[in-house]
């Protein structure tokens, strides 16, 4: 296997793992629902994107032709994550999930 | 390979699909097509009965895949008997249904035909997992049918029925998994070959799997302590559905006969006669419970529903002997009880229609219209169900009594069955005398009209108990041949070596 590809794969994997973990830490650690909402919508999405990309490179460099189907997963996640976040935020505002004390500004009445 | 074998499956399937398309077609068209389907099915069943009577096993390999790899249908006398029994019952239930019961939902005929589809698959299939699928087909259709009709009374019993059967299906799958995990096969003939060869260390798994199958079949058959879903469900179903359901417990019984003579029968080595020592006492307790239920029944439908449980106990007691005599007696009884109980459900419904708010409750009410006709039907049904002469029930009971051989079997079976008959007789005479004879002043506002489709179907089913007496000779001969064929399992396993299409020379 091409060493550059190997480096790229390893790097992308680690980046992916890192962001996935960071997203999860954020989800676990951040103080209220609205702050926690940030973790998955981007860090995790980015993390998965990187892992998927490493998969693309991995299988392409194995010499079985270029496989790019994985990219669709990332595209799909990028398209849907904001919508999920949006509708979850609306749900939280509807229920009246409290914001952490340090939050300025107000949620909207649903 | 004889394509007739698929007829009992393809006919209701096509009929059912047509009904799914025709939800909004005029009811007359739907009825005509539906009845035509059922009639065709009966014709096919009779053809198969004639075919099967030569005593051979006919094989139909779907996809032309050799068993044990593909799914096969196997036609033998037992399968043919069950098919005809079902088709006859179904035809009359269907005729009854077009008397008006089918109007409350557009899906009725579709569900009805799919129900028959499931039943027929169950009787014909030679594959254990496919039997599961067949069960599911007939169950899901039965769920739909059970919920058919106006009113709210059937919802809760229906829910119980569905939930218990779902749990039962789960157990079925577990059992299939256990048996497959040891034998590596699903074909019943192949299982019959493989089970005797199971290694010592694997026996517990197969044994537990087999016993779980017995529980599942017992649940369908409504054997104690798994029978309590039945009275509520059956007595709340609309009449043609309840009548058709007379055959539902028989599927469980069929499965017990098939699986526990073929796979766990006498040739099964260590596992021969698995569970049969449990079955006999349970059957007798079931019978007793049925009698108690019948004695305490507050309505005709409940009474008949408990009669179903009585017959299940009776049947399984005979089957548990594992002998040709026992099985053949059970088969004769099976025909009798299925048709008669079906007929009694219809009669109960007709009575209900004549009694206004008293419905079919065993209480005093104004004198009913059409009393002579209905009371004669009820009387005949009761006589056949209790097993009094001169109707077929007596001969069936006699065969069952005679099938007991050992002294303790004789003592237990005879005393429970005969004392049970005595109390059943009391239950029926009490119910009939109150419902038909004990009248109060007044009259019923609008009694249901006894249209030909209602009265003909009910009386036809009941009258089968006379036909069975007239044909008792040939029928008992057929039952005996069937039992003999069943207990000669080596002939069944020969289907594994039958050539496929394109192979036979």
């Amino acid at each position: 296997m091409n060493p550059i590809a190997e480096y790229a794969i390893a790097l992308l994997l680690l980046i992916g793992g890192f962001f996935t973990l960071v997203g999860a830490i954020g989800l676990a650690r951040l103080p209220d629902f609205y702050t926690r909402l940030h973790g998955p919508t981007k860090a995790t999405t980015v993390g998965v994107g990187a892992i998927v990309l490493s998969s693309v490179i991995y299988f392409s460099s194995k010499g079985q032709g270029v496989g790019v189907a994985e990219v669709l997963i990332t595209v799909f996640l990028f398209l849907t994550a904001p919508v999920s976040a949006n509708i979850l935020a609306k749900a939280a505002m509807h229920i009246g999930v409290p914001t952490t004390d340090s939050t300025r500004g107000n949620t909207w009445d649903q | 390979m004889n394509h007739w074998l698929t007829a009992p499956i393809l006919i209701p399937l096509i009929g059912g699909i047509l009904q799914a398309f025709m939800g909004y077609a005029p009811i007359a068209l739907r009825r005509t097509l539906a009845i035509a389907t059922t009639v065709l099915m009966l014709v096919a069943a009779i053809v198969l009965l004639v075919l099967a009577d030569d005593g051979s096993y006919r094989l139909y390999a779907f996809g032309n895949w050799q068993p044990p790899f593909g799914i096969v249908l196997v036609l033998d006398r037992l399968a043919a008997l069950m098919l005809v029994m079902t088709a006859v019952l179904a035809l009359f239930c269907h005729i009854y249904a077009i008397g008006g019961t089918d109007e409350s939902s557009r899906q009725f005929h579709g569900l009805f035909l799919f129900q028959l589809l499931g039943l027929n698959i169950a009787f014909l299939t030679g594959d254990l997992f496919n039997l599961f699928v067949a069960f599911e087909v007939l169950l899901i259709a039965s769920y739909g049918l059970l919920m058919h009709g106006e009113g709210t009374s059937r919802t809760v019993p229906g829910l119980h029925y569905v939930v218990l059967n779902l749990a039962g299906s789960a157990v079925f799958l577990i059992a299939v998994g256990m048996i497959y995990s040891v034998t590596g096969t699903l074909n019943m003939a192949d299982l019959a070959v493989k089970i005797p060869q199971v290694a010592e260390e694997n026996l517990p798994l197969v044994k537990a799997g087999g016993m779980m199958l017995l529980v599942v079949f017992g649940l369908k058959a409504a054997i104690l302590p798994l029978c309590f879903w039945l009275p509520g469900a059956y007595s709340n179903a609309t009449a043609p559905v309840a009548a058709l359901f007379a055959v539902m417990t028989k599927v469980g019984i069929y499965a017990i006969i098939r699986v526990f003579t073929l796979i766990f029968g006498s040739q099964a080595g260590e596992l021969a006669g698995l569970g049969m020592d449990w079955l006999f006492p349970l059957a007798l307790i079931t019978l007793t419970m049925g009698v108690i239920g019948a004695l305490g029944a507050a309505s005709l439908r409940k009474l008949v529903a408990w009669q179903v449980i009585i017959s299940v106990g009776t049947l399984l007691a005979a089957i548990s002997f594992g002998t040709v005599a026992g099985t053949s007696a059970a088969l004769f009884y099976l025909l009798n009880t299925t048709w008669v109980v079906g007929g009694l459900f219809l009669v109960a419904d007709l009575v209900d229609g004549q009694r206004g708010s008293a419905q079919d409750k065993i209480v005093t009410a104004p004198r009913i219209a059409n009393r002579t006709f209905l009371s004669v039907l009820f009387l005949m049904g009761a006589v056949a169900a209790v097993g009094l002469p001169p109707l077929s029930g007596f001969f069936a009971k006699l065969l069952i009594l005679k099938s007991a051989v050992t002294e303790s079997d004789v003592a237990w079976l005879w005393s429970v069955l005969l004392i049970g008959s005595f109390f059943t007789l009391i239950a029926y005479s009490r119910a009939g005398s109150i419902v038909f004879w004990r009248n109060v002043e007044g009259h019923i506002e609008e009694p249901q009209k006894l249209t030909p489709s209602l009265s003909v179907s009910a009386s036809a089913l009941i009258s089968l108990s006379i036909v069975m007496v007239i044909l008792a000779g040939p029928i008992s001969r057929y039952a005996e041949d069937t039992a003999a064929q069943l207990h000669d399992t080596s002939a069944y396993t020969d289907i594994l070596s039958k050539p496929m299409v394109g192979e036979e020379k």
């Binding site: - | 393809l10 399937l13 799914a20 593909g70 067949a134 004392i419």
Partner: protein, 935 residues
């Protein structure tokens, strides 16, 4: 051939009689006579054979498996009974013609009467014991219907049911007894059984068989303690009582004892059981008869008493006693039938049967009175009448009985005492009815003689009383001889049929009885006063109370066991499964099979830990329903991951898609339900359930562990080898689904389709009030269809269709297939419903989901049936490789059409189910205004 005909004719008559109902009573009566007349004519030619002790036999095979044949036998005994049944039957028919009122259901009456007669003839003529049992039970049934003929009378219904219960129940015992005898002898044919007397009596089961048979006989013949049904059977119209109480029903038990006498009698058991029962019945019947104010009640109890007498005679076991028994059968039939008819006439003419009101009828109906007095005298045993003769024989036999010690005095004492009572009640019948002052308050007054023809039957019978009483040898001698000889199996003892045997001890007993009886009657008031101290028991009421009690108890027991609780039923099911698996699993222990455990990797372990936590958590947190739902989703997701982890990509995809649809459906339902499950009250119930669940879980763990570690081989090698060459696909799972086991899949999609149709049907016309807000009390948001969701949902549909197409097309060779593709399409459509609502989405779908389901099933069916054209079985698939320019080589498989059917069915079923639920929502009817096209 004549024997079956004799039995069959009454049944044919029963079918014919109602047809003549238009012609009135006379027409029916005439028609009803025909069977008996033809029967008598048919029997006549056989007399010569029978008189010599010969037998006429007719046998037709019927059900050899049961040992049941249509065999009939005419010998002296059966001839005697046949004649009684036919002749008295004829008289009854004639009598009933006048007895019944024109408005009554005469057709039914005669039909039932003829059925009953046929059944009786069947009993006495059957030569196969099983056949006899059949007729035996038929008499129970027909007599039940006859007794309850006046169904509007409570007493008639109760009396009928009681008699059915007693005699029908006895019939069941008889059946068991006969079956036992059959087992012993190896045949049910009478000649075999009668010839095997010693075999039977020496068999270990003899006492059981004897008891059972006698139970049958005693119940039918109203022996103590089963005697009580008989008096209540008089609720029947009098012709019926006359028939039942004299010649037929009650004589069936007697006949049975006579019939089986050679096979069963002559043992100690027989002696004690039969004679003591007879003695008790004799006394009790006679005693009670004395105190009945009801004319028919008196006669009924007298019948009981006389039946006891006959039974006692049979029980004595001597040949002479048997002869006497047979003789008394004849005599009793004659005088009792006439007495009942007379009583019926009195009832008919006065409107009552109460002897306290009926007095001095001699003045009004002397002719009837004369007849009744003669018959009653015969009943009392007055010389020159037939009753006297057999009673003398009875007294003689009672003296002959060799019982040890003081017991030897018992039979003569009982006999004499019973004789005294008999005279007393007979005297009462005569004096209290025809003399004793003037009538009191008769409903019909003044009474007068009945129609001429109504008296003819009585006259004939009374004439017979006289004839037999004065010229016994001439009148009944040959018949009695033939009957006795048949009963005893050939050798008949010396006996003399003369009117007076000289002055002997029996005659003295008769004198004692006669004068004692008269004395008792004159002192009757004392006896009545004495008797009045005991409370009269109405057996019907007792019976009714017992039946109600049984029924109530049964109801309570049933309601207790079948208590309508799903929890109990489910618990029973689960416990049953556990119970039947415990023993095998006990053998198994904690078995790790010979394959041993494979190494673990910790990511999988953590996944498994999460799965376990989530599943147990669902159970633990189930009260918060939404939380439980989320946890269930976690379980579902991890199960899918598990499938992927262990090499099942198809399963992983299926599980994932099914999972989300299930969750959506559950939420659709949860909307209408409380969002919290209340705590269940009984804590013990929860602990019990935890134990059961724990046992089930541990059991499954052990089973799985044992299973996974055992080596095994399966038929799957075949699938792996033939998938590509035989099925044309490399995805073996898919090839199994659409080809090797395509029939399963056909069933599976059928289930799916039916479920959806059933769901649709079930929810029609259902009205569920939607909750105004969620469980916390928040009102629902205004915004039903968020804009961003709508924006993303639109492109999702074509994209998902694209992915579906991809998954579908590659399914035969790669993970995927029609089912998963169908679910993706369905989910994409569901997203449209979620994002834009029912009416918006429905408005853009032009096909009904019912039809999609139908179409799907049809595709699958057509794909399967295509092979018929080539002579191959249903569902035989075919495939080929095609080369097209640009496209290149590609595969065309018929299985793809089948899979298309799967695809369509899945879409149709899923959406029909979900939209059926969605339609419940009140918003679904309102057109969505939130979203405007192109704005």
């Amino acid at each position: 051939m004549s024997l079956p005909l004799v039995v069959l004719l009454p049944f044919l008559g029963a079918l014919a009689a109602p047809l003549f109902a238009q012609g009135g009573r006379t027409a029916i009566a005439v028609i009803s006579c025909v069977p008996a007349i033809i029967g008598l004519a048919a029997l006549y030619p056989h007399w010569a054979v029978l008189a010599d002790g010969g037998i006429v036999q007719h046998t037709t095979e019927w059900l050899p498996a049961l040992g049941l044949s249509l065999s009939f036998r005419l010998d002296g005994l059966s001839l005697l009974f046949t004649l009684l049944i036919l002749i008295i039957g004829l008289l009854i028919i004639l009598y009933a013609r006048y007895y019944l009122k024109p408005h009554e259901n005469v057709g039914k009456f005669y039909a039932l009467l003829l059925c009953f007669k046929g059944s009786m003839l069947g009993i006495v003529l059957s030569s196969n014991l099983l056949l006899m049992v059949i007729f035996w039970e038929l008499t129970s049934l027909t007599s039940f219907l006859l007794i309850s003929f006046w169904t509007h009378k409570k007493d008639a219904r109760r009396g009928a049911r009681m008699s059915l219960a007693i005699t029908g129940g006895g019939g069941l015992a008889l059946l068991a007894g006969i079956l036992l005898i059959g087992n012993i002898v190896g045949s049910y044919e009478l000649e075999d059984v009668l010839a095997a007397g010693d075999l039977i009596k020496n068999h270990s089961m003899y006492p059981v068989a004897l008891t059972l048979v006698l139970l049958g006989a005693f119940t039918k013949s109203a022996q103590f303690p089963f005697h009580f049904w008989l008096p209540h059977a008089m609720q029947a119209p009098t012709p019926v009582s006359a028939y039942l109480h004299s010649a037929t029903m009650v004589k069936a038990g007697i006949f049975l004892m006579a019939r089986l006498y050679p096979a069963l009698a002559g043992t100690e058991q027989w002696f004690y059981m039969v004679s003591f029962t007879g003695m008790a019945t004799l006394l009790i019947g006679a005693y009670v008869a004395m105190f009945k104010h009801d004319l028919k009640g008196l006669l009924a109890h007298s019948t009981v008493s006389h039946l006891g007498l006959i039974t006692l005679l049979f029980g004595m076991g001597t040949q002479l006693a048997a002869v006497a028994a047979v003789f008394h059968v004849i005599n009793h039939a004659i005088f009792k039938a006439s007495l009942f008819m007379a009583a019926g006439i009195i009832d008919h003419e006065t409107g009552t049967r109460d002897m306290r009101r009926i007095n001095g009828l001699w003045r009004y109906m002397p002719h009837t009175a004369t007849l009744a007095m003669v018959a009653a005298s015969s009943m009392a045993g007055v010389p020159l009448l037939n009753g006297f003769l057999s009673k003398e024989m009875f007294f003689a036999e009672a003296l002959e009985l060799n019982l040890p010690g003081l017991w030897a005095y018992l039979p003569p004492l009982v006999a004499t005492l019973a004789g005294i009572f008999a005279v007393a009640y007979s005297a009462r019948f005569i004096h209290d009815v025809f003399f004793n002052g003037r009538p009191v308050n008769l409903p019909i007054f003044p009474p007068h003689e009945p129609p001429r023809y109504m008296k003819i039957p009585v006259e004939i019978l009374v004439f017979a009383c006289l004839m037999v009483g004065m010229f016994p040898a001439f009148s009944v001698g040959p018949l009695l001889y033939a009957a006795a000889s048949a009963t005893l199996g050939g050798d008949v003892p010396e006996y003399h049929l003369t009117v007076i045997h000289g002055f002997n001890l029996p005659l003295l007993m008769s004198f004692v009885a006669f004068f004692g009886g008269l004395l008792m009657y004159t002192q009757r008031q004392r006896f009545f006063d004495f008797h009045a101290r005991f409370k009269e028991i109405d057996e019907k009421a007792v019976f009714e109370a017992i039946v109600s009690r049984i029924s109530d108890t049964a109801h309570t027991v049933t309601a207790y066991i079948e208590n309508g609780s799903l929890q109990r039923y489910a618990m029973l099911l689960i416990v049953s499964v556990i119970a039947v698996s415990v023993l095998p699993l006990w053998d198994l222990g904690i078995a790790i099979g010979s394959n041993g455990l494979s190494p673990v990797d910790w990511p999988t372990l953590i996944g498994i830990a999460i799965l376990v936590v989530a599943s147990l958590g669902t159970a633990a947190m189930h009260r918060d329903r939404f939380f439980a739902l989320v946890l269930l989703s976690v379980v579902g997701l991890l199960v899918a991951l598990g499938f992927a982890r262990f090499s099942a990509p198809d399963l992983a995809m299926t599980q994932l898609s099914v999972e989300v649809v299930t969750i959506v459906l559950l939420m659709l339902a949860l909307y209408y339900m409380p969002s919290w499950t209340p705590i269940e009250t009984p804590k013990g119930r929860r602990i019990r359930d935890i134990l059961i669940a724990g046992a089930a879980g541990i059991g499954m763990t052990l089973i799985t562990l044992a299973m996974l570690t055992q080596p095994f081989t399966s038929i799957s090698e075949f699938f792996l080898e033939n998938s590509k060459p035989g099925g044309g696909g490399t995805n073996v799972v898919n090839v199994i689904l659409v080809d090797f086991r395509g029939f399963d899949t056909l069933g599976e999609i059928t289930v799916l389709g039916i479920a959806a149709l059933g769901i649709y049907a079930m929810l029609r016309n259902v009205d569920l009030p939607p909750p105004p807000g969620d469980g916390q009390g928040h009102a629902w948001t205004r915004d039903a269809y968020p804009m961003m969701l709508q924006q993303i949902a639109r492109p999702m549909l074509p994209l998902a269709l694209m992915i579906s197409a991809y998954i579908f097309l590659r399914g035969h060779n790669m993970p995927g297939g029609g089912f998963i593709a169908g679910l993706i399409t369905a989910v994409a459509l569901i997203l449209q419903y979620i994002a834009s609502g029912m009416s918006w989405t429905q408005g853009r779908i032009s096909i009904r989901y019912h039809n999609v389901i139908g179409l799907g099933l049809l595709f699958a069916l057509i794909a399967g049936a295509g092979s018929f054209a080539f002579g191959y079985p249903f569902l035989t698939s075919t495939f080929d490789y095609v080369y097209w320019p640009v496209v290149g080589k590609f595969e065309v498989a018929s299985a793809l059409v089948f899979d298309l059917g799967v695809y369509l069915t899945v879409i149709g079923a899923t959406l029909l189910a979900l939209t059926s639920v969605g339609r419940l929502s009140p918003h679904s009817a309102i057109n969505s205004t939130n979203y405007k096209e192109g704005s």
